[in-house]
């Protein structure tokens, strides 16, 4: 197999898959930070929740994870609305830092509940190994990778359509730009907040399903992704959903490509440390340009 194909099969494609997952998570984090003005620490665990909801659907119906995806997204969106109603809304008019504490509490409550309901064993959507599809003799793409990357593109197009073509989507961007002006303009903030939770949670659920599909399901999977997702949102600029998409892709690709033997034959970075790339990028951004590449907002 040629070097290029090795690069594509083992570095570029996994990078795109990881980037898709980060991007989907980061859009929600960025929107919530932009509109509700706080870092949502339960976002990773919402991803876990989505993944486990899909697991139940897959287990009950024996369906492909793709078919379970919409149900997991809807289920997670509904639960997110409930969480907002009972645990975040009481603080909407208060200091947002209390919301960070509340969301941190929610993160661990969600994870605890997932462990009570689904147990702590490692799970997966399918049994057995699926063969990759082979193109041009040697370009091997796992079927699930095609689904993951393809669905991410579709979901991003939907997000784009929502944010630029629908009244509520435009209002979300308006509130993110200036909450004060949005209120003075007569935009009902509470409604926009609900829409934000539904969109953010649905995308988080999708990201969670994709992680579970690509690897396996663990109750800590979402929490462990929180750092790269925040890093993606910061890289793209807080409150900028398109920045979050790009940021997620950049960090996903950077993590996978950092282990390619660019110089000599050894991996440039030991694979065990590739998730540290996200942290490094984030630290650089915080020092050099906290507003992000697309000039979001610094709070």
């Amino acid at each position: 197999m040629g070097d290029l194909l090795i690069f594509v099969n083992f570095y570029l494609l996994p990078g795109l898959v990881l980037g898709s997952i980060y991007a989907l998570g980061a859009i929600g984090v960025s929107l919530v930070f932009g509109i509700l003005r706080f870092a949502h620490f339960a976002h990773g665990d919402m991803m876990t929740l989505g993944a486990y909801l899909a697991l139940t659907v897959v287990a009950v119906t024996g369906a492909n994870p793709m078919l379970a995806l919409p149900l997991a997204m809807i289920g997670t969106a509904i639960i997110a609305l409930g969480i907002d109603r009972w645990f975040y809304k009481p603080f909407h008019d208060k200091s947002t830092i209390v919301l960070v504490i509340a969301s941190f509490g929610i993160a661990l409550m969600l994870r605890s509940l997932i462990r009570v309901i689904w147990g702590v064993e490692i799970e997966s959507y399918s049994v057995g190994i699926s063969r990759p599809l082979v193109f041009f003799d040697s370009l091997r793409i796992a079927e699930r990778h095609i689904w993951i990357i393809g669905s991410t593109v579709v979901l991003m197009l939907i997000v784009h359509w929502l944010l630029t073509r629908t009244r509520t989507g435009k209002a979300m961007r308006a509130v993110s730009d200036s909450p004060e002006l949005a209120r003075l303009t007569g935009i009902p903030t509470e409604r926009v907040i609900k829409a934000t939770w539904m969109l953010g949670a649905a995308l988080a659920a999708a990201a969670g399903v994709f992680v579970g599909w690509d690897t396996q399901l663990q109750t800590t999977m979402g929490w462990n992704l929180l750092l790269p997702i925040f890093a993606s949102a910061i890289l793209g600029g807080i409150g900028r959903p398109y920045g979050a998409m790009a940021g997620g892709m950049v960090i996903g690709l950077a993590e996978e490509l950092s282990t390619y033997p660019w110089i000599g034959t050894e991996p440039l970075l030991s694979p065990g440390y590739k998730t540290g790339i996200a942290f490094a990028i984030m630290v650089v951004m915080l020092i050099w340009r906290p507003a992000g590449l697309l000039r979001g907002r610094v709070y």
């Binding site: 620490f41 504490i101 509490g105 661990l108 605890s112 942290f279 630290v283 915080l286």
Partner: protein, 316 residues
């Protein structure tokens, strides 16, 4: 008699751990309660302290970095210094930004540490962790050994409490409060707000490292699960919020109450068997989380509310 000793040892364990959490709660109160700094990476600083002290003091095993056989006290100091240095680095980067960024960066520290523990087996013995960490007074007979350690921990809590109370009444503490309550005014008065914040962040994180070291010596073992936020970070936050953030008595009361509740409910969940034995303990965590939410919403000043100067309303 055996039963009595069993209960006694349990009480000693309970009080020792509550005391160790008390040390860390004082640190978190300094960061959040008094300075408004948001640290969600407590587990990271805890683990740094635990590992540093373990490596410094444990005898040669050939399985991990260490074998220096340093005295216990030196291990504690090294743990605090290591945590403090990491805190300084993070503080330098994030202190000017809003608290959310600091919180994100602190979970980053915990995450990187998790990677190091996982990958650098030569230094940390990987998933098997470091065992046989020496505990002071462990050669004393019977319950006297843990009792002496308990007294040591409580003495540390008392000393730290005394220092922090003095610090708060000193000009340093008054500036801290002024910064938290009205930053622009403090700036206008010519105070170097960043420097004060970094100081509070370093001292608080050093106390978390100290807590990690004390725990490692107490249980004589440290493993990679020390970076798990579920226990350290989460419990500590619940302790501070329930106890009443902003005052040291509240932090200590919270540590005692929540640790007691935590341990007591463990006695109940331990009765479950089979698959449920694994799951039910998490119901306990869920309930602790629920208590946090209820306190945040309904009793935001905690069991021992901060005494506020005249004319100022609640913290939030």
């Amino acid at each position: 008699m055996d039963q009595f000793i069993g209960i006694l040892n349990y009480l000693i364990f309970l009080i020792t751990m509550a005391g160790i959490y008390g040390v860390m709660a004082l640190g978190l109160n300094l960061q959040w309660g008094l300075t408004g700094l948001f640290n969600i990476g407590v587990a990271g600083f805890f683990a740094i302290g635990a590992y540093v002290s373990a490596i410094m003091t444990t005898a040669e095993t050939g399985k991990h970095l260490g074998g220096y056989g340093m005295p216990f006290a030196l291990g504690l100091v090294a743990a605090m210094i290591a945590s403090g240095i990491i805190a300084w680095g993070i503080g330098r980067i994030c202190i000017r930004l809003r608290s959310d960024y600091l919180a994100i960066a602190t979970i980053g520290i915990a995450e990187i540490l998790r990677l190091i523990l996982k990958n650098e087996g030569w230094a940390t013995n990987g998933a098997r962790g470091i065992s046989n960490i020496p505990r002071p007074f462990e050669t004393l007979p019977g319950s006297l050994a843990p009792l002496s350690y308990m007294i040591l921990v409580l003495a540390l809590v008392a000393v730290l409490y005394w220092f922090l109370e003095r610090g708060q009444k000193a000009p340093w503490g008054r500036v801290m409060r002024a910064i938290r309550d009205n930053e622009p005014a403090a700036r206008a008065a010519g105070k170097n707000v960043e420097r004060f914040r970094i100081e509070a962040f370093i001292i608080g994180s050093a106390l978390m490292g100290l807590g990690g070291a004390l725990t490692a010596h107490f249980i004589k073992f440290v493993g990679p699960e020390a970076t798990d936020p579920l226990m350290t970070t989460f419990l500590l936050w619940v302790m501070l919020i329930v106890g009443g953030s902003g005052n040291n008595v509240g932090a200590l009361v919270g540590a005692g109450v929540i640790w007691t509740a935590w341990s007591a409910t463990e006695l109940i969940t331990a009765r479950f068997t089979g698959d449920w034995a694994v799951r039910v303990p998490f119901l306990r965590l869920f309930l602790i989380g629920l208590i946090l939410q209820i306190v945040l919403q309904k009793f935001s000043r905690g069991i021992v509310p901060e005494k506020l100067p005249e004319g100022r309303s609640e913290v939030d």
